[in-house]
Amino acid sequence: MTAQTTGTKPRRITYREAMREALREALRSDERVFLMGEDVGRYGGCFGVSLGLLEEFGPERIRDTPLSESGFVGAGIGAALGGMRPIVEIMTVNFSLLALDQILNNAATLLHMSGGQLAVPLVIRMTTGAGRQVAAQHSHSLEGWYAHIPGIRVLAPATVADARSVLAPALADPDPVLIFEHGGLYNASDDPDPSAGPVDIERAAIRRSGTDATVVTFGGCLPKALAAADQLAGHGVSAEVIDLRSLRPLDDATIMSSVARTHHAVVVDEAWRTGSLAAEISARITEQAFYELDAPVERVCSAEVPIPYAHQLEEAALPQAADIVAAVRKAVG
């Protein structure tokens, strides 16, 4: 068996291992929990997250599915209604479109349509994002689409610590929770504090404090935003970096109180700009903190193009630290 979660000493683990430990802990602590998805068992997960879990928990609870996204996501919803605590892994957000009907029309609506009778305690995990030269059909960032939907919670753990910590509260939520794991983060490593306790999945996290500009981001863009903040410090600009962590509901309070301190806001989102989560956040800032703004809200998003294969093209299409630096400098003037 691979890395165990025992011991309280901090030690360096990857995002992938952190997620695996969280899964293992959940499977051990609640027999209603099971993991279902394409290649989660024998293959060990497309991204290796569930490696070794089949051996420990068996094929009933580490359940390989056929390539039937709508079928097995719907089955996860039904199983949740039937008293289980399913964790459904959709290999990537790109394939989640085949299950969109189930997520939107069933998972998100059943509680409401039934007048409060049917809650759906389901967790859906999926990989998201670009940056690995896998071209247009495998590089989507559609978190914002899901964050559009009332009735579901959308989380985007961006740090190793969050990867370790968000699953438990997600499973404890009586309603559907979508967890987006950016593919570029799996190999990130850190020493999460084992005594940190459960994470408040309602709240955004301030990953770096600053006084001149608020950079709001999430998921795979967080490391870029932090790198940008380092560079900005060299230019004498102190950027505060907010990791949204929860894309729905949005933690308006943390964003607005930061903007009230810095008076400049830059939103960084790997999705396309048009109709993006960045647009939503920008709109909220103008709604709620208009009179705190000393400059227009800036957005750094992906170019409006299907994500191309070639490295240099892909890099150019995606938000980069330099773009964030430029946007912050533009905002602070």
Partner: protein, 450 residues
């Protein structure tokens, strides 16, 4: 046509910034006037409703000519609504029986509150493109409809709404600062909160004269083609004024060497801790000292009018600023004696940049109580100045140079400046002038108290 300086006999109305029916408050900028020296925004000194505009743009009229009628605030709404009713009546009459009544004059204002729905989408788009507020546009088309030309006209003549950030607006509201008087340092001149605070808070930095990064150099509003004429006119105007001065004013001259050692040491220490924008220049120190000296010697702070001396209402130092296009202008640094140094510094930078941009305000050109001319930067040792009538004195400052001084019986090298006073002997005698220079010297020895 207000008098915008003693040398002004006539002015050209460049544009109206208000329209008949507009409510104006005392202090609002209502028009732009071009004088021989500068393009100046003129303020209105009454509160009420703009009635008729008596002078068309591009018309030159003598000082004292009424430009517009401001109606009493109480009567104005009635008049406006009467006009509105008349307008509606005229419009409907015109529609039902075109020949029955004469068409209304095209310049009759459209009643406020007209529905923008009457504007076609194309014109609406144009208005949007040109940042024209349709509610403020006078319609001159049939039935008072807004035409293409109206919007273009409005775009050309509208009073520019200050481009300010939301925070800047909020801060301006809190600090009771008129955004129209704040110089924006943001992109394209956008006013940001720090600009407002700078305009308000004595301790704030003074970024106002700093050109915004990437912003094009500010252009004077007048067409460039007018520049040579303007320069020539200014030359003539200076010629007239200085001739009058030398003809009428019996000047006397005094000079004093002032040791700036402690002043400049203090300044250097202070600047060391500060960002560039907050640093002082020696001129600011000397201006402040001059202003304070004038409060001690008020006989030099005022005007010679109708054969007698009239003291100024405050210490408004005229600051002689040479323009890059040639010529000279000396707008007022209002209440310079009461401005804390940092604020005086920012005001100085603001005044200089606006003078060079041709955007001075009427009161700034009209009422300096004494002028200071500093030619030190040009390498001059001593200035023998010519007084600006009707002022009664002019302080000249030369170059700050290292010079030998006796200190406690020893010879030392200190920075120093030669201050000269040109004063009107009708208004004061040499002893008064001497008191002024002595005070100036004394004040500059204790810079921390300035």
């Amino acid at each position: 046509m207000p008098s915008l300086g003693a040398d002004m006999d006539e002015g050209t109305l460049i544009e109206w910034l208000v329209h008949p029916g507009d409510h104006v408050e005392r202090g609002d900028i209502v028009a732009v006037v071009e004088t021989a020296k500068s393009t100046i925004e003129i303020e209105c000194f009454d509160t009420g409703t703009v009635g008729r505009l008596l002078v068309e743009p591009a018309t030159t009229v003598p000082v004292g000519t009424p430009l517009a009628v401001i109606e009493d605030g109480a009567k104005a709404p009635a008049a406006a609504s009467h006009q509105a009713a008349a307008r509606r009546g005229a419009a409907s009459a015109q529609m039902s029986a075109p020949a029955a009544s004469p068409a209304p004059a095209p310049s009759v204002p459209v009643p406020a509150g007209r529905k923008p729905a009457e504007v076609s989408p194309i014109l609406r788009h144009l208005a949007h493109e040109l940042h024209v507020d349709l509610a403020a546009v006078l319609g001159t088309g049939p039935g008072g409809r807004i035409t293409h030309a109206d919007i273009e006209h409005a775009s050309r003549t509208r009073r520019t709404r200050p481009r300010a950030s939301p925070l800047a607006r909020r801060v301006a509201g809190e600090l009771h600062i008129d955004l129209g008087r704040v110089h924006g340092t943001g992109k394209n001149g956008v006013i940001r909160a720090e600009d407002v605070r700078a305009a308000a808070a004595p301790s704030a930095p003074a970024p106002s004269a700093v050109p915004a990064e990437d912003a094009p150099p500010r252009q004077p509003p007048a067409p460039r083609a007018a520049q040579p004429d303007r320069a020539a006119a200014m030359r003539r105007s200076i010629a007239d004024l200085m001739s009058r001065s030398k003809r009428e004013i019996p000047h006397y001259y005094l000079a004093a060497e002032i040791d700036l050692d402690s002043a400049l040491n203090w300044m250097r220490e202070r600047n060391r801790r500060l960002e560039v924008a907050d640093r002082l220049v020696p001129a600011a120190l000397m201006l402040k000292a001059a202003a304070r000296a004038l409060t001690e010697v008020p006989e030099l702070n005022g005007y010679w009018l109708n054969d007698r001396y009239v003291p100024g209402a405050g210490v408004h130092l005229g600051v002689a600023i040479s323009l890059r296009t040639g010529g000279l202008i000396a707008p007022a640094l209002h209440d310079a004696d009461r401005l804390p140094l940092s604020e005086l510094m920012s005001a100085l930078r603001d005044l200089t940049s606006r003078a060079r941009a041709g955007r001075l305000r009427a009161t700034e050109t009209a009422d300096p109580t004494m002028t200071v001319t500093n030619l030190g930067d040009q390498g001059v040792e001593r200035v023998y100045g010519v007084i600006y009538p009707p002022q009664v004195a002019l302080l000249g400052l030369g170059k700050v140079t290292e010079r030998p001084v006796a200190v406690d019986g020893l010879l030392g090298v200190h920075p120093g400046v030669t201050a000269t006073l040109a004063a009107d002997h009708r208004a004061s005698d040499g002893a008064v002038g001497a008191r002024f220079l002595t005070a100036l010297d004394r004040l500059l020895q204790k810079p921390e108290e300035l």
